[in-house]
Symmetry: C2
Subunit: 347 residues, 2 copies
């Protein structure tokens, strides 16, 4: 993997120029635009070497070179220098996150829009998985004879509900009783920490309402298993501006992938390092349908706990330097916005 400085410069030129123009890059272009102080012929020699080592390739004999996946990887790992966001972009992000929003979904939606706007690629964001947390409040409400609603509020601010069927004889007062007992017994506990003995106690106290308890506790049980996450997607049509998607077939595969939520979730969840920005190039994304795409993802956290991830999906010919900075900045801001929302603006 050792590479003398000039080779690095040539590789860098190839990658940067190809990212900018989407056209194979020739030796003349590099000599002229990137002022390496040597002639095209020399560059041709270097390029021949680089090709041999697998960093660049030639689409056909009389064309310039384009970076291979290996080439992009080398660029991202060793050559690329982070591009600071412009003041304008910083401002845009800052103002976006200052806006008043009502719920987590809205924050994320807006963040996604901004992310795809700034990068001009598709954005994918996964909403926070807060973990179940502990019970804050449980409420049963009789909606009409024989139908009720169970509401559970967790201390992390998440809210869950379910409709259940109850015997016709049940009254609003019964509901209050049940809610009262459940609240008293369960408050502050996490789902995992509910003991059988405690359950027995509850069933004993509310023996008359065994049926309702079963249903209510079923909701609690589901909470443990439930994937609360949602996938937010934006700016897919940006991708169509990229020349690599002028071919309909590619657009079709792209779209069919993008409509599969489960796949997106997997792509966003199985991140490499688990911390900081991850760049995956082409095949490094394990799904063969999206070779020719790269993903830049990063987890965001709430109060130090990893909560969800944001990501950008674009062609392998992606503006890595720019996107990495944007993703970084967005995670920071998003984390902050979430914390403010959940903990209150005090801190």
């Amino acid at each position: 993997m050792k590479m003398d400085e000039r080779k690095q410069k040539v590789l860098m030129a190839v990658v940067q120029d190809f990212i900018a123009t989407a056209e194979p890059v020739g030796s003349r272009t590099i000599a002229k635009k990137y002022r390496l102080g040597v002639s095209p012929a020399t560059i041709r020699n270097e390029m021949a070497d680089l090709e041999e080592q697998g960093y660049i390739e030639q689409p056909h004999t009389s064309a310039g070179r384009i970076p291979s996946q290996l080439g992009y990887r080398y660029y991202v790992d060793y050559l690329m220098q982070k591009k600071e966001l412009s003041a304008e972009q910083e401002e845009l992000i800052r103002r976006q996150f200052e806006k008043k929003v009502r719920d987590v979904g809205e924050v994320i939606q807006k963040a996604g829009q901004l992310l795809s706007h700034l990068t001009q690629y598709a954005s994918i964001i996964i909403s926070p998985q807060l973990g179940a947390g502990s019970f804050k409040h449980i409420q049963l409400i009789l909606m009409r004879p024989s139908q009720a609603m169970v509401i559970v509020v967790m201390d992390n601010g998440s809210l869950h509900h379910r409709y259940i069927e109850v015997p016709e004889s049940i009254t609003t007062a019964d509901m209050e009783t049940i809610s009262g007992v459940l609240n008293a017994k369960l408050q502050g506990l996490t789902i995992e920490s509910i003991k059988v003995t405690l359950l027995k106690e509850i069933y004993f106290e509310l023996a008359r309402h065994k049926h309702i308890l079963d249903l209510a506790l079923e909701l609690l049980h589901d909470l443990m298993l439930k994937k609360e996450d949602k996938i937010y997607l934006g700016g897919v049509f940006n991708m169509l501006n990229q020349p690599e998607f002028h071919n309909i077939e590619k657009v079709k595969t792209l779209l069919s992938i993008i409509e599969q939520e489960d796949l997106l979730r997997e792509l966003l969840t199985n991140q490499g390092s688990g911390e900081g920005v991850t760049v995956r190039i082409g095949d490094e994304i394990k799904h063969r349908e999206i070779r020719e795409c790269s993903m830049i993802t990063a987890p965001y956290s709430i109060c130090g706990r990893q909560a969800g991830s944001i990501g950008v999906l674009g062609p392998t010919r992606m503006e890595y330097a720019k996107v990495v900075s944007i993703v970084e900045s967005m995670t920071r801001n998003l984390s902050r916005a979430m914390e403010r929302m959940i903990l209150g603006p005090g801190k």
Copy 2:
């Protein structure tokens, strides 16, 4: 608008054949395939007439004819005969709606997937706008010092929440008191019917907590204005199989439209008749970006009250007969499923 029978048959042949093949239809084709018992020459004469009257057009001199918007309109209004769903399709729908689902969002999501699967076009569904309804339950919960959550349950089963800031001095007991008073005073009322005198009463009783009341009542107020609806979209990539979208530019406009939720909402809400299936062809959809598309929409209802709409978006060359039947059946089933979910399976 009078048209003799043979002309109608010719027009019908042109429309049907073009819908099936996406190729301009010639006189020979019609004579051969549609057995009108006359020669191509006669059909040519009829076609010339139809063109003069604006029902069909010729892309270029040496090509067959394609239906104009007017032609499609005539076809939909007078010629098309509804195509019954196949047993298989019926079965698919029935089974889909039998599945157990947890919430309204899930029903809709599944319905959208099915709709786009059956039609092979894009599906758009707007979630129920139930109207505000009347209060069933209001609950304030202290999440941590100085932060609380307001939960409001309406009698139509909808659930709303908001985080608010409260003075540090507030205790859980205070919250219970406030909840209690609000419940007692507001239960059963609609938002509109809250009188100033009643508010005064509440403020009087809870004078100490004026600040919290303000915030809680703000949520109630927002409920009146709030658009609760969500847009669900599916099967966009089906559209790419249609030859009219082999052109990237068109795909791009299509996608950029589809990413604008507000626009979709408008398209789905401003329906013509307001009842039953509406077919809008090309320019009849008022947005110039989607000329060359048609929409088939229908409202679904819950307990007789119109709740939301479902729609199919496809090229003007759409299989109207088929899609109309599918949309009809889907609204029926969706309405039923929603009612079952909200009222409980009893009825």
